[in-house]
């Protein structure tokens, strides 16, 4: 058995550590060692975006990052998106607009959409569509997802 490595990192603002095989992905470590199963594995090859998280604020496919690469970094996942009981406007708008059917793509899409709005508070429909082109949704046809993101963006703009 490969010797396991000790990784110290920050998950949604909390200091955490875990032991992992150097071959394990960040997604494996989140799900199997840190109990954070919000990020999903849809492909394991960087093609579906279901595993989207942020690493030091950068949007990544956690299936393409090794667990050991999280050492000393800040990981942001869906579990950290709401502020206590208060949902992020994106989360609320996704429910309101029926922007999820099965919901398996939702955590990844919310993380990706928030990352977009953090850098571009006023995206066009085309910008939203291209930003989310790496996040597959098989259920919705994207219509309601795009509407929810646009609506959340406008609410966030009004609030700021």
């Amino acid at each position: 058995m490969t010797r396991r490595l000790h990784v110290s990192t920050t998950l949604n603002g909390d200091a955490v550590d875990f032991l992992c095989d150097p071959r394990e992905t960040l997604l494996d470590c989140l799900r199997d060692h840190l109990g954070a199963t919000g990020a999903k594995e849809g492909c394991g090859t960087g093609d579906c975006g279901a595993c989207s998280v942020t690493l030091d604020g950068r949007l990544v496919c956690s299936c393409l990052v090794l667990g050991v690469e999280a050492e000393g970094k800040e990981i942001g996942t869906i579990e950290g998106m709401a502020d206590g009981e208060t949902l992020h406007p994106l989360q609320r708008k996704f429910i309101e607009h029926a922007a999820l059917q099965c919901g398996i793509c939702t955590p990844g899409i919310l993380i990706a959409a928030k990352n977009l709005l953090d850098r571009n508070p006023d995206p066009t429909e085309t910008e939203v569509r291209y930003w989310l082109a790496g996040n597959l949704c098989r259920c919705t046809g994207y219509d309601k997802i795009v509407r929810a993101v646009m609506d959340a963006a406008s609410e966030l703009r009004e609030a700021s």
């Binding site: 199997d32 919000g38 999903k40 849809g42 099965c102 989310l132 597959l136 919705t140 309601k144 795009v146």
Partner: protein, 747 residues
């Protein structure tokens, strides 16, 4: 109310409240197939055939068993012999016997203390194969000299003289084709092919199974139907169905692909062999594409005749489909629905179910219907074009309506095809001006919907809130619909109802969420169980008031005396009855068990505008309109969602998606990079119009809306490309190279 005639005025039905599971799903808390772990759990991995067709000579598991952390290895020898029919097919598909029948066919499985050890151990299992000649194409598979996949697999329906790979044969029709074609002013005959497409659910198959030597066990699994899983696993393992309790997880998409089993019996068999330790298994995306069930591929010949003024005089179709190495391609449905939209006097449908070295097909949204629609609606469009007729007017002229005898036999009840055509014609999208290289396509499609075995229970809590227990997993918001229907039946707020998807131990048998049946059948069951409950609530009030139960009615969540003669009592709210139920006769609940048979089909008409790039052959969807009959839309936002999702899956099937097999019979595009489903930047908004022609077989008029939406896109887009390019493309997908070749006159 509901029992005599249909309700027409609603308080809750038709509103769009937040779905009850929304919060869990936007916060990452919802638990899907792979999200559960148990103490002492092992992890499974599967060894799969790299050959399309091969004899399995020997499986040596000794090196794998010797690896530290490996707890069990299984092969077919660990499963009982003597299964028959579909049970044998399922067992053979889950674990190969003497032969591997397709690239990706499971030949062994291993359980170990970590996923990585399991994966390493799988690589140490040595399988000796003797490759055999293979065939993956449907026409090639039924041609003379094609390798025989299994001798004696054909059933009684197959006429003599056909290749042994033809395992079922269908032939239906009416009238006199010769006469019908003689009446036509124009007859068009064309051949078509569609490739296999995968459901493409984003959540791969995953489960956590546990079984002891006594055949008792538990299974946590992502599935559309846990009673199906229970029955299939028990048959494959040779155990009793009741010994296994199956709990459905949240499900990350299914579209028909999760109505059967693949790894589930393996996890239970591994657990049994590993002394009853739970075994978690999950498929990789490549395993999903290689070894679960995509839909069938098809090859079809269509002939239709029409008069100058647009009346279809006759139609005939021959449909050949391969659904992998087992019987079951949905060609029966294909032949049934092929011309089902129209009133045609002279019609014939012939179908062949053919074996090939591909994975066992599974249901995919409206199984069998989209292929047929592609072929028949393309020919209809060509007739309209050549006779200079409007495609919607022509469809209206021939449309099936109430009282029409369907091409497959029965008379239609009230149906909404005409209404969808009229709404499509009236929609602004149908009048948008088109530019160069742009074209508009129209097509209609149909799914007959389904009832199926259904049980539901409704229980009143001590505080008067209501628990609804149903057995159809919620894939697209159906818990919200059930809660709305229960709220309507009881006359209580939506928020006072909680809907649970029960495990197999808590309700009678339920068919899966398939066939567009959940909102129809579980909805009907919920309403009937609520009515059963209401009868009991009224009885409690009657006893308290000391009047006849018949003298009590139920309104707005309260028992009330039915009139002045019944007595003068203030309304008794559900919460008051519930608070006292312990003393007044005990818990109050209502039930429904049955096989609702009043389902009725949903018709849809789609209008699409495309632009084809003459340099590259790439087709872009500019506008897309879905018009479909919902009967009654319980939660209109999720009805629209079904329309949009179905249309986009159809767009993917038409433009990009296909199973590509190499000369070696191996799947060449087993990943989301090369099996390319539509992404957000490929698409415009998907416009929708919900038509409501109530189904008399449901208390609130529900039809079921899930499947129909994937049927019209294939022909609608092909018809639009025809207008944009002047070329009739008869083979899917319309990949750029194919369209370009057609534009340049080589197609």
């Amino acid at each position: 109310m509901a029992l005599d005639g249909q309700k027409t005025a609603y308080t809750y039905i038709g509103t769009t409240p937040d779905r009850p599971d929304g919060l869990d799903k936007v916060t990452g808390r919802a638990r899907y197939g792979a999200d559960i772990s148990l103490p002492g759990m092992l992890h499974g991995a599967v060894v799969r055939s790299p050959h399309a067709h091969a004899k399995i000579l020997k499986i040596d598991t000794s090196k794998a068993m010797a690896l530290d952390g490996v707890k069990a290895v299984i092969t077919r020898a660990d499963f009982p012999d003597g299964l028959e029919g579909e049970d044998w097919n399922l067992q053979e598909n889950c674990m190969a016997g003497d032969k591997a029948l397709y690239d990706g066919h499971a030949v062994a499985a291993v359980a170990a203390t970590s996923p990585l050890i399991a994966r390493d151990a799988a690589k140490l299992i040595e399988v000796a194969y003797e490759p055999l000649p293979h065939v993956t194409d449907v026409d090639a598979a039924m041609a003379e000299g094609a390798p025989v996949i299994r001798e004696g697999a054909a059933d009684f329906s197959v006429p003599d003289g056909l290749h042994p790979n033809v395992v079922r044969y269908f032939d239906s029709g009416r009238g006199d084709l010769e006469q019908g074609f003689a009446e036509a002013d124009l007859v068009i005959e064309k051949s078509f092919t569609t490739e296999a497409a995968h459901q493409g659910y984003i959540e791969p198959q995953a489960c956590l199974g546990q079984m002891g030597g006594d055949g008792r066990g538990e299974l946590w699994v992502t599935t559309q139907g846990h009673w199906f899983v229970r029955r299939m696993c028990a048959a494959i393992l040779g155990t009793e169905a009741t010994g296994l309790r199956v709990t459905p997880s949240e499900i990350g998409g299914g579209f028909g692909g999760k109505t059967t089993v693949f790894i589930e019996p393996l996890s239970l068999a591994l657990s049994r062999k590993a002394g009853g330790k739970p075994v978690k298994m999950g498929m990789t995306r490549s395993e999903v594409l290689r070894a679960t069930g995509p839909t069938a591929s098809a090859s079809m010949d269509i002939k239709m005749g029409m008069t100058k003024d647009g009346r279809i005089t006759a139609a005939s179709g021959t449909f050949r489909m391969q659904g992998g190495a087992f019987p079951g391609a949905p060609v029966d449905v294909t032949t049934m629905l092929a011309f089902g939209n129209y009133d045609i006097a002279h019609v014939r449908q012939v179908g062949y179910d053919v074996l090939a070295n591909r994975p066992k097909q599974a249901a995919y949204r409206a199984p069998g219907a989209p292929m047929a629609a592609f072929a028949t609606e393309s020919v209809l469009d060509e007739l309209c074009r050549q006779l200079h007729l409007d495609p919607i007017d022509t469809r209206l002229k021939n449309a099936a309506r109430e009282g029409t005898r369907a091409t497959f036999g029965p008379k239609y009840g009230p149906i909404g095809l005409v209404e969808t055509l009229e709404a499509a014609k009236a929609h602004p999208n149908y009048r948008q001006p088109l530019g160069p290289n742009q074209g508009r396509g129209v097509a209609s499609g149909y799914w007959m919907n389904w009832g199926g075995e259904t049980s539901a229970s409704v229980a009143i809590s001590e505080d008067g809130s209501i628990t609804v227990s149903i057995g159809t997993p919620d894939i697209g918001g159906s818990r919200a619909s059930m809660a709305l229907m229960a709220a309507e039946a009881f006359g209580v707020p939506y928020e006072n109802v909680r809907v649970n998807i029960s495990d197999t131990g808590a309700l009678g048998v339920n068919e899966p969420t398939h066939g567009s049946r959940a909102t129809y059948a579980s909805g009907l069951a919920t309403i009937r169980a609520a009515e059963d409950c209401i009868t009991k609530l009224c009885k409690r009030a009657a006893d308290k008031w000391e009047i006849d139960a018949e003298a009590v009615t139920w309104e707005d969540g309260c028992a009330k005396p039915s009139g002045p003669n019944a007595g003068d009592f203030p309304p008794m709210p559900i919460a008051e009855i519930a608070a006292e139920m312990g003393e007044t006769g005990g818990p109050i609940s209502g039930h429904f068990e049955g096989t609702p048979a009043g389902f009725s089909g949903s018709f849809g008409t789609h209008v699409v505008d495309v632009e084809v790039d003459p340099e590259t052959g790439r087709t872009t969807i500019l506008r897309y309109l879905v018009v479909q009959d919902a009967g009654k839309a319980i939660h209109p936002a999720y009805v629209e969602g079904q329309f949009q999702g179905g249309a986009v899956q159809g767009i993917g099937w038409t433009l990009n998606e296909e199973y590509i097999y190499g000369e070696d019979g191996r799947l060449q595009n087993a990943g989301f990079l090369d099996y390319r489903i539509p992404v957000a930047s490929d698409l415009p908004m998907i416009d929708t119009v919900i038509v409501e022609v109530p189904n008399p077989g449901h208390p609130y008029g529900v039809r079921g809306v899930g499947e129909t939406g994937i049927t019209p896109p294939l022909p609608a887009i092909a018809n639009a490309v025809r207008e944009a390019t002047g070329k009739r493309l008869c083979d899917l997908p319309l990949r750029p190279s194919r369209v370009l070749a057609a534009i340049r006159g080589k197609g």
